[in-house]
Every structure is written in structure tokens, then in C-alpha cells.
């Protein structure tokens, strides 16, 4: 049945396979370095956000409606630049350069933090600029991850990346806290150290990550036109359109972490000092589960894992609505939320990368994340309004019903598209 192979080659191949599996769960060094860039950059940015008392300002002093607006703006801030950066990256085949520029942009913002001093408004402005840098780099970076691995390992690769990314997000605040313990009040030192991490992050992507996409030695005449038609063409693809619609619809009924934690805090009258720990708890679970869930998605089918994740979110809403729950259950909710992230975030990127043509992958990913970003903005605004005018339980009830219906519809829809386009099942 099998052609007789040279046994030496066989052993060599097997060994290489084992070696690469041992390292980075078989996704290759490029994904690892991209993850490292995100890890370093997230250490950098979270050192700053954890230090600035913006969190107090936002989550504790404002009315839910105002909070929703700012929360939504924060989430939607980078949306505008996403598609532009995607188009540029794809048109000139410059994913790596655009991603590097995005990382460098955020690194420069750290210096901005030093310059603006203690003016909160200016600080918020710099944080916003930092988010724009994030908007520039996210699409190209995800496209590079997708280009670095074979199709059947997409979700694992994204899992590796998200795990490292989340590890950075957790290390950042720890580092900042430790630094401030040794040098009380030395916010400038926090910004400088944060800047150093950002620069090393930029150096990793610029110098160690290889650009897998064919370079731009294609002559200018061969390049496809840069126009909004591309967006239309991509959205005309039924499998991609379905994914954009579904992910946006799901985002429309997604509560931001901050709202879930606020609800949790009120329900269980948690100590406000524990608030940052909630973020850490969820991030920890997300980090641990990102790779296993990615592998599970690659093996079982990404859409099952993805929709399962959103199902968990509905379960969380349900739990938050139940009266008389023991306080220990708040831990269970954190666990579910971490699991929800692990099952959805990277897996969705993998789902989209698989259906997008490689040439327009960055733009496609940007379109999808833009849809999600806008939907989240609406969700935050809507939830804030519902909470303010109807009360927290009513708002949660509406979101529970909404998310349950969306998950069920998405299930039917995804399966139908999957059958129609005769995908490989994943």
C-alpha cells in the first residue's frame, strides 16, 4: 500500500516532527516569535494601564451609561485604522512591515506618557493613540500567524499566540506593581521600563520573524487595485460573509469584562480591592486553556468549539441572574469566562483565516474585527442604557435571551454554510 521509503528519511522526519512538537506544539518558530512580540508588547502596555488609575476613574466613579460609552469607545477606538492597515498590508504584500509599524507606534507612545506628565486628559489621549497602534498591527499580525502554519494547525497556532499574549498581559501589572514597591511613586521608571519592553517587542518582529508571504517583487502593474471594492468582493464570499455576520451578531450580545465584573461585584458584594484580581483570574485561565482549546478546535472542528464558547457566555449570564448563589460560585464564573475566551478568540481568527484567500487575509481579518468592534461598542452602550433605565437584572435577562437565540441561529447558519461550501469540516 505504501511506497517503500528510505528508513533513514523516515526516522529523520519522525524525529523532526517530534522535536517541533516538543517546541511550540508544532507551530514553528515564527508563531513563537510573533507570540513573543505580543507578550513583550502586552507587558509594556499593561504595565502602563495597570499603573494609571484610569480603572478607578472608569469603573467606580461613573454612571453605568457613561461607563458603557467610555468602555465601548475604548474597544472601538482602533476599529477605524484596522481596515486601512489591512488594505495597505495586503495591497503591497507588506504584512510584516505594517505590523512592525503598529508595534513601533505603540512603543513611541510610552515616551509620550513621560512627556505629558500628570495631566489625565492628555494621558487618556496617549492611551487612545496606543490603541490605534494596536488597531494597525492586529490584522497583519494575525495574517502572519495564519501564513506561518499549515491550515490544519491554524487554531493551535492562534492558541499559542493568545496564550503568550495573555501571559504578557498578566506579567505587566505584576512588574509595574513590583517596580513601584521598590521605587514608590517612580511612574517615570514604569514608563521607561515599559518602553524598553516595547522596543524589544518591535525588535523581535522586525529582526527575528520571517515574512512568509511572497515579497513585493511583484511589479506594480500586477498589483490589484487598492479600493473599497476589495471589501465588497470579500464580503461576497458566502463563507466569509457568514462568519462576519455571525461573529458580529454574537458580539452584539457580548458583555465586556468590566460589566461582568461589576455585576459580579454587586451580586456577591465583593471587596472592590479584589476587582483587579478578577481580571488576573480570567486571564490566567485563558492563558492556560488557549493552547488546549486551539488543538481541540483543530481536531474536532473549529465551529463547535467556537459556538460552544459563546454557549458558555450565555451560561454565565444565566448564573449571574440566579438568586441566592454561594459566593464561591464567583470563582466558577471566572473559570467559565476564561474558558469562553480560550474557545472563541483565537479559534475565530483561525476560522476566518481558513476561509479567506491568503492574498487578502489581513483585510478580511480587519473587516471581521471591525464588525466585532462596532458590535461591541453597541453592546456596551446598549447594556449601559438598559442597566441605567431598566435595572441590572432586566438588562442581563435581555442579554441572556439575545445571546441564546444568536448562538442557536449561528449554529444553524454555520452548519448550512459549511455544507454548501463543502469545507473540510473544520
Amino acid at each position: 500500500m505504501y511506497p517503500i521509503e528510505n528508513s533513514g528519511d523516515l526516522i529523520k522526519n519522525k524525529r523532526r516532527q517530534l522535536l517541533s512538537r516538543a517546541m511550540w506544539v508544532g507551530v514553528g518558530s515564527n508563531v513563537f516569535f510573533l507570540g513573543l512580540t505580543s507578550l513583550l508588547t502586552d507587558i509594556s502596555s499593561e504595565m502602563v494601564t495597570a499603573t494609571l488609575p484610569l480603572y478607578l476613574l472608569l469603573s467606580l466613579r461613573l454612571a453605568p451609561l457613561q461607563f458603557g460609552l467610555i468602555d465601548g469607545l475604548n474597544q472601538g477606538a482602533s476599529v477605524l485604522v484596522r481596515i486601512a492597515s489591512g488594505l495597505i498590508a495586503d495591497r503591497w504584500r507588506r504584512t510584516k512591515e505594517v505590523a512592525t509599524a503598529g508595534y513601533a507606534f505603540s512603543a513611541v507612545c510610552r515616551i509620550g506618557l513621560l512627556l505629558v506628565g500628570r495631566n489625565w486628559l492628555a494621558l487618556s489621549g496617549v492611551v487612545l493613540l496606543d490603541r490605534i497602534g494596536k488597531g494597525i498591527r492586529t490584522g497583519p499580525r494575525d495574517a502572519m500567524i495564519a501564513a506561518s502554519v499549515p491550515s490544519e494547525k491554524l487554531a493551535t497556532a492562534f492558541g499559542v499566540h493568545r496564550a503568550m499574549d495573555t501571559a504578557g498581559a498578566m506579567l505587566g501589572p505584576l512588574l509595574a506593581t513590583g517596580l513601584l514597591a521598590f521605587a514608590p511613586g517612580a511612574y517615570d521608571a514604569v514608563f521607561i521600563v515599559s518602553f524598553c519592553f516595547a522596543i524589544v517587542g518591535v525588535a523581535v518582529i522586525a529582526l527575528l520573524v520571517e515574512s512568509r508571504a511572497p515579497a513585493a517583487d511583484v511589479s506594480a502593474t500586477d498589483l490589484p487595485p487598492l479600493s473599497s471594492q476589495i471589501i465588497g468582493q470579500l464580503l461576497a464570499r458566502p463563507d466569509f460573509r457568514a462568519l462576519v455576520l455571525i461573529s458580529s451578531a454574537l458580539a452584539l450580545t457580548t458583555l465586556s469584562d468590566s460589566f461582568i465584573f461589576l455585576t459580579l461585584q454587586r451580586k456577591f458584594s465583593l471587596n472592590l480591592g479584589l476587582f483587579p484580581l478578577l481580571y488576573v483570574g480570567v486571564a490566567l485561565i485563558y492563558m492556560v486553556l488557549a493552547i488546549p482549546m486551539g488543538r481541540l478546535a483543530d481536531r474536532w472542528g473549529r465551529r463547535y468549539v467556537f459556538l460552544g464558547g459563546y454557549g458558555l457566555l450565555a451560561v454565565i449570564y444565566g448564573l449571574l441572574l440566579l438568586p441566592g448563589l454561594p459566593q464561591t460560585l464567583s470563582l466558577g464564573i471566572l473559570l467559565l469566562q476564561g474558558l469562553y475566551y480560550a474557545a472563541t478568540d483565537g479559534v475565530l481568527a483561525a476560522l476566518a483565516s481558513a476561509v479567506l484567500p491568503e492574498q487578502w487575509r489581513t483585510t478580511g481579518l480587519a473587516i471581521m474585527t471591525t464588525g466585532i468592534g462596532l458590535a461591541r461598542l453597541l453592546a456596551s452602550l446598549g447594556y449601559g442604557a438598559l442597566w441605567t433605565y431598566l435595572g441590572s437584572n432586566q438588562a442581563l435577562g435581555i442579554f441572556l435571551i439575545g445571546s441564546t437565540i444568536t448562538v442557536l441561529l449561528a449554529w444553524i447558519f454555520l452548519n448550512r454554510v459549511e455544507r454548501k461550501t463543502d469545507g473540510t469540516g473544520h
Binding site: 517612580a186 517615570d188 525588535a203 527575528l208
Partner: protein
């Protein structure tokens, strides 16, 4: 081949960048730690609203377990009454006492309070304990100036103007008295001590002493001596009852917690410049306070000092300011509407 070379070069550049970043990050952090707490967080502002009630013994004890500041509240409705606030805390505890003082100092559970009684024109000198209740009390006459308790709480020293009312006044006369905190008894006026200068007995009729600061062993102390139009830093010994002249033009010395430096006011063309004197090298460092300061400063830690001056915001109010002790930075309000700050270690 080009690819290989460029790959190796890229790795080399990467290593250099990492190295540079590590050096910058570690170096800057090290410097920030060394710089100490020059830009450190000040005491967070007191929440608005009704004033605190007078604290009970438990509240007092709770704060006294922590690193805290004792000062005189200059805010209604407790103007002139001693208050405590926790240090190094994002949401510090505060306790208001009922003790009325014009100048206060406190160490190791023993406090000294000077209070002017306008009805009798006396100054009440009160020795009090950790409960802020009077233990010993006696009266003297004059105008309240300085008070200091030794680090172990054994001795205290206070200064009043006997005639005149300012260190600017050429005809003023001061009395600086040592107090045994256990009994409340006087250990004598510094004018009764033997004074030495350049290895010889130094005597004059119009010696004036003020501004005692104690070393960690509580026996050694420093103070200002004025003879004629000159002031000197003297080092004293409580047990031996001697004083030795060390340096010229030093007023109201305050010894740093590590015992290496003295912060003081130096008379320069009619204004008092806050200055730090290194006792090992006798090197003087002017501090970044441009206004004339008439206070005996208190060390917040080994890098920063506290002192009172008029705060123009709100206008004409006295506040406690904090300033780096190495000549850098600029003064910042540490506790608004407060005087006589004491760091309790």
C-alpha cells in the same frame, strides 16, 4: 549566502537592542530607587465632608502600629489640635486628638507639647504618652519656638524666646531646656553646659541656644549656638553636659535618620536658605526651596525633608511641604493646613 549573512546580522542587531534596553531599564530603575522617593506619592487628600470625631484609644493604637505622621491640624474645627495620619498608604487612616499645641514632637511613645495660654500669658509644657493624655505639665514664659523628643523617648528639648520673638531679632534671647521625659523634670538649660571651640573652652555672656536635634543614641545631640552676630552648629552630650562647635552659620539643625547629614536654615543676605550639611565632609548643599524658611525641618526618610511654610493655595495658610534633600526637585504640599510635622518611625 546573502540571506545567511543578513540573518546573522539581524540576530546580532537584535542582541544589541536587547542589551541596550536591559541596560536602560535596569539603570533607570536603579536610579529611580536611588533617587529615593523624591517624586513619591504624597498623602492622599482627605475626603470632603464632616470633620472626624476625636479618636478613641483603639483608633489611635491602630495608626500607631503603622508608620505615621503626627502634626498640628490647622483646619476648622480642630485648629491647633494634634492629628495623626498613616504614611505609605493609598487610603491612610487618620485620627484627630484633643491635644492643643503650638509646637509638638513625638518619639517612642513619648510626646512634648508646647501650648500658649493667652489668658495667663504662660506657656504650658506638656509631656504626654501614646494615649495623647498629659503625663506631666509645667509652665514657663516666653514665645513657643522648637520642640524635639529623642528617638528613644528618654529626653526632650524645647526652645522658647525669653525676649524678642524672632531669630532675626538681634536683641532676642532664647532658653533651650532639656527635659527628662520619665519624670517631667528639667535637666537644665543648655547655657549651663560647657562649650568648646577649636579645642578650647568657649565662653561669653550672651550665648543663646536653640533648635536641638537628637542622634539615634539619644545622648548625642546637635543645636544652634549664637554668640553676637554669628551662629554655630554645636554637637552636645547630655551625660557629659558638654557642647562642641562644629560649623558656622547653621540654624535649627535636624539630623537625618541615618545620622550622616544635617538639614538646617542658613542665613544668606537676610533670608534663610534650606541647606543640607554632610557631617563627614562638611559639604553644604542648598535645597530647591527659593523662599526663606523659618522652621526646624523634619526628615521624612533619608531622602526627603518636611517643613512648614505659607501655602498660597489657599492663600495665607500654613502647610507642611516635602522636598528632596539632595537639592533636586521642587517643594510640594505634603499635608495641607498643617504645622509641626513629626515622622514617627
Amino acid at each position: 549566502m546573502e540571506q545567511v549573512i543578513s540573518h546573522q546580522r539581524r540576530q546580532k542587531i537584535f542582541l544589541w537592542i536587547v542589551l541596550g534596553c536591559i541596560v536602560l531599564a535596569v539603570g533607570y530603575t536603579y536610579w529611580a530607587i536611588q533617587r529615593g522617593n523624591a517624586t513619591a506619592a504624597l498623602i492622599p487628600e482627605e475626603p470632603q465632608g464632616a470633620a472626624l470625631p476625636i479618636a478613641g484609644p483603639n483608633e489611635l493604637a491602630a495608626i500607631q502600629n503603622e508608620h505615621h505622621l503626627v502634626f498640628i491640624n490647622e483646619k476648622e474645627p480642630y485648629i491647633g489640635k494634634v492629628k495623626l495620619v498613616e504614611l505609605d498608604s493609598g487610603s491612610p487612616r487618620r485620627a484627630q486628638t484633643d491635644l492643643l499645641c503650638g509646637r509638638v514632637h513625638f518619639a517612642a511613645g513619648n510626646g512634648l507639647c508646647l501650648a500658649y495660654d493667652s489668658s495667663s500669658d504662660f506657656v504650658w509644657v506638656t509631656v504626654f504618652g501614646a494615649d495623647f493624655q498629659p503625663r506631666h505639665q509645667f509652665t514657663t514664659q516666653g514665645i513657643i519656638s522648637r520642640a524635639r523628643v529623642s528617638p528613644d523617648g528618654r529626653y526632650a528639648a524645647y526652645t522658647v524666646f525669653v525676649s524678642g520673638h524672632s531669630y532675626n531679632d538681634a536683641n532676642m534671647s532664647t532658653a533651650t531646656i532639656l527635659v527628662d521625659m520619665a519624670t517631667g523634670a528639667s535637666l537644665g538649660n543648655l547655657e549651663e553646659f560647657e562649650t568648646w571651640k577649636d579645642g578650647q573652652r568657649y565662653q561669653a555672656l550672651e550665648f543663646n541656644f536653640w533648635g536641638v536635634t537628637f542622634a539615634q543614641d539619644s545622648n548625642r545631640f546637635y543645636a544652634t549656638l549664637r554668640n553676637g552676630d554669628k551662629t554655630y552648629l554645636v554637637q552636645g552630650d547630655v551625660a557629659a553636659r558638654t557642647l562642641t562647635v562644629l560649623h558656622e552659620n547653621v540654624e535649627c539643625p535636624s539630623l537625618s535618620p541615618d545620622g550622616t547629614r544635617i538639614a538646617y536654615k542658613k542665613l544668606l543676605s537676610g533670608m534663610w536658605q534650606l541647606t543640607v550639611l554632610d557631617l563627614a565632609t562638611m559639604k553644604e548643599t542648598p535645597l530647591a526651596e527659593k523662599e526663606s524658611i523659618d522652621d526646624q525641618v523634619e526628615w521624612l526618610d533619608n531622602q526627603r525633608i518636611l517643613y512648614q511654610k505659607v501655602d498660597y493655595d489657599p492663600p495665607q495658610w500654613v502647610s507642611v511641604f516635602v522636598l528632596a534633600a539632595d537639592g533636586s526637585g521642587k517643594p510640594e504640599v505634603f499635608v495641607p493646613n498643617a504645622t509641626s510635622a513629626v515622622v514617627v518611625r
